[in-house]
Symmetry: C2
Subunit: 478 residues, 2 copies
């Protein structure tokens, strides 16, 4: 009965997975609709019977990214069976597509020894990412179990600052001396076994082992054997310093449409290569982090983070917000006598503050995004401020009219509608100006404009909103 239930859960989950895949339009042989059901039950049976041979055979037909998906969908107890069935090479391919949670599970399921041999098979960038996620103790144990040569390279790479090009690069690359010709290069590629799995260009080194040119593979393939590399290579190519921040690296890849790029040390030696797949991850992460930072969720993006860690990531924003809210309340308390006399003020005042907060958030977001995309150069600040000022003023006039009319139909008091309308203009203008100045100022001070901008902005719009509305009401209506 229990087995049956487990199986039906599986069928359900895996069926869902498969269905999603079909939805994605994947047509590859192993995922074709016709073949899938047979394969699915074979696979389930193999894992349940701990049939290592069959599991290996099936996983061999899968893309490692799909194997990682299946692993994630398995019930925890059976993940171990699947992991143990894979030999080191397969395991390392699958692990490179797993998330942090699955990797930790693999460590505890397989033990350090077996995992070390799989990690040693990974490209340096994947291996370093893997090790970096472990806690200190596991890191040391794992490193100790890796062959010396690989270990030294990994330890070196772990010493580069986080989010630097040094961390992003892999050591595996193809470089040849500049006195070779195309034929010699092709013969070298055919005769060498420990080349990287995938590479897109070949670097050309001078006698001092400095890179002086690069040859995209499509160029190499189009050139006849006797041609000298020196004549074929491109000399205008990007050399990325080891220390460059990954955001900067992503910008260069995007700007120059790069697929791979050389990483050089301070004295110009070629030390590694960054490939576009790693950069795609960086772009995805950075964009995600900006979204979360704007909403006040700090730290690295991680949807699977534990509840407590998640509370911590959101705490400070809410804490600071409580104090800005208290500040706004204090502003209101200055006018408590006016409110006591005209209670309508209490009813209408949140409208002004809310509109200011929303309009200002729009401005902050547009400016933060433009800064991230490098669309605002130093000289442009005034132009942006002017444009946003005009938008704020026009929005203010429009919504002053709408709010004035709505409130007039509600309370039939022309003075109240007038005060509401003027306060709206004042606050929407303040929102636009503050929404532009705050992120630009934070950036100039070297702070991250995505993190704190909205907090400062809502403080401004709350205070100005309540002050303008209640202040003018006190002046004109009492």
């Amino acid at each position: 009965m229990l087995k049956c239930a487990v199986q039906s859960y599986w069928e359900h989950k895996l069926g869902e997975l498969l269905e999603e895949k079909e939805g994605e339009g994947l047509l590859s042989a192993s995922n074709a609709a016709g073949a899938a059901p047979v394969f699915l039950s074979d696979f389930i049976a193999a894992v349940e019977q701990d049939d290592i041979e069959t599991i290996r055979k099936i996983v061999a037909t899968l893309h490692p990214a799909d194997a990682a998906d299946f692993l994630r969908e398995l019930p925890v107890q059976q993940r171990g069976t699947l992991l143990r069935a894979l030999h080191a090479e397969m395991l390392s391919a699958v692990l490179s597509y797993c998330d942090e949670m699955l990797r930790e599970e693999a460590l505890h399921e397989l033990g350090v020894e077996k995992l070390a041999s799989a990690v040693a098979e990974l490209d340096t960038d994947d291996a370093v990412e893997f090790i970096d996620e472990l806690d200190e103790e596991d890191q040391q144990t794992l490193l100790a179990a890796i062959p010396t040569e690989e270990r030294i390279i990994l330890q070196q790479t772990l010493n580069y600052p986080e989010s630097s090009a040094g961390r992003l690069m892999q050591r595996e690359l193809v470089a040849v001396p500049s006195h070779w010709n195309v034929g010699q290069t092709i013969d070298f590629l055919r005769g060498t076994t420990d080349l990287p799995d995938d590479f897109y260009e070949i670097f050309v080194l001078d006698a001092k082992h400095k890179p002086i040119g690069t040859i995209p593979l499509s160029r190499l393939l189009r050139t006849r054997r006797p041609a000298e590399l020196k004549a074929v290579m491109l000399t205008d190519f990007r050399k990325i310093p080891l220390q460059m921040d990954q955001e900067e690296v992503a910008f260069l890849f995007r700007k120059y449409s790069l697929v791979s790029a050389a990483v050089v040390s301070e004295n110009g030696d070629l030390v590694g290569v960054i490939t576009v797949d790693d950069v795609v991850q960086v772009i995805q992460e950075e964009a995600g982090e900006d979204i979360l930072k704007l909403a006040g969720v700090s730290g690295q993006e991680d949807f699977y983070r534990a509840t407590f860690a998640e509370i911590k990531a959101r705490f400070w924003w809410l804490f600071v917000n409580l104090f800005t809210a208290v500040l706004a309340s204090w502003v209101i308390s200055l006018f408590d006598e006016s409110i006591e006399k005209i209670v309508v003020l209490a009813v209408l005042m949140p409208i002004v503050a809310s509109m200011g907060g929303n309009a200002g958030t729009q401005t902050v977001t547009v400016v933060v995004r433009a800064l991230a995309m490098r669309q605002i150069s130093k000289g442009m600040a005034k132009k942006v401020l002017f444009k946003e000022g005009v938008i704020g003023l026009l929005n203010g006039l429009m919504f002053a009219a709408v709010a004035g009319i709505v409130s007039w139909f509600w309370y039939h008091d022309a003075w109240i509608s007038f005060v509401l309308a003027v306060a709206m203009i004042v606050n929407l203008l303040a929102a636009s100006l503050a929404g532009t100045i705050i992120p630009l100022a934070l950036r100039r001070m070297g702070a991250d404009p995505a993190i704190a901008s909205v907090i400062f902005l809502t403080t401004v719009t709350d205070v100005v909103g309540f002050l303008a509305f209640l202040g003018m009401a006190t002046a004109f209506l009492l």
Copy 2:
């Protein structure tokens, strides 16, 4: 005097540009710090003297992306000089790195005839992007000036739905028959002149011209000439249907770490190839659009959009927000008698609503981001809701305590602090639950969760916040 002023403006702008480049750590020959000043003044002189030969010579040493940067930094009058100096091939390379504004300027500066020959040189994906941005009339004139063969392909591509794989792909690709061997393939590549500039894999076709395999160039280069393609090719590769949405395409590239992928028609014919540089743009755009949508700025991301278009893009969000704010005001008006008696209520009530709005926005953002990254599968909704519920409750308890204490020190009224604390718990719990349910429900209904979630959410947190606080105050304090 005027010329001098223009020149010093130039020196300033270009100097700034160069400085930025050095900051980026670009070390390529043409950008090396030592060479730059000489080059800069040469370049300025050449453009001012309309010295076509020198301009061409200098641009030839630049990466087209850098040439596009220089073009953008030039005063408008001189952009024409630079554009006119370039021959079709150079022009097409530079144009593929220009933004919409510069492209339109180029059209009006150079005229349709000259531009058509440059556009015909572009890869189909770039050409289609270029044409798509023009208005209807310019489109027709430009298309008419393009040679028939290219025109038919471009018109076909323009008929694919926007944001589909068909629009993203280029027609230029390398495909060979499956009965060839490695040597024949290399000879073909060496002997053919109209190959794409860059390609990363070669597709293998069967007798019916259907793709049956792919060979990454690094694999081709490592294999000896007599090897049969059938034995070397990879048969498990992604085939992207023409109709697939670009977001879906980006997901596949990310998941499988692809550099290029085949695009197939409904009957399985190979029609084009998508390369990773186009996908990088898509990822960047989609992430940017989510940020802006969450803040209520609609439409495509475009920092340089005109002020009026920008107001339009932000109008509806603010308009809807005005009505949710009025709804919240109406809730407050239900309790105007209570407020008249205890004016402190008006002072403290925004705190509850503000904390709810902020905590809920955090939840919405985390959920929207997780949906975009496909981290929430169908079965997980309940788990996510439970986790967010726990976070909401714990946040509620924490901030109830803080708000209770702060308000006690302010008003020394235990009942008011008690009501404030309980209302905080209720609203933060409501914020978490609504912040989870709203985006998930929108997604299930086929709507975009990034667009409307925050509006619905703040409506909930305003209404629940004011209702809980003022309702309990009326019940307990009067």
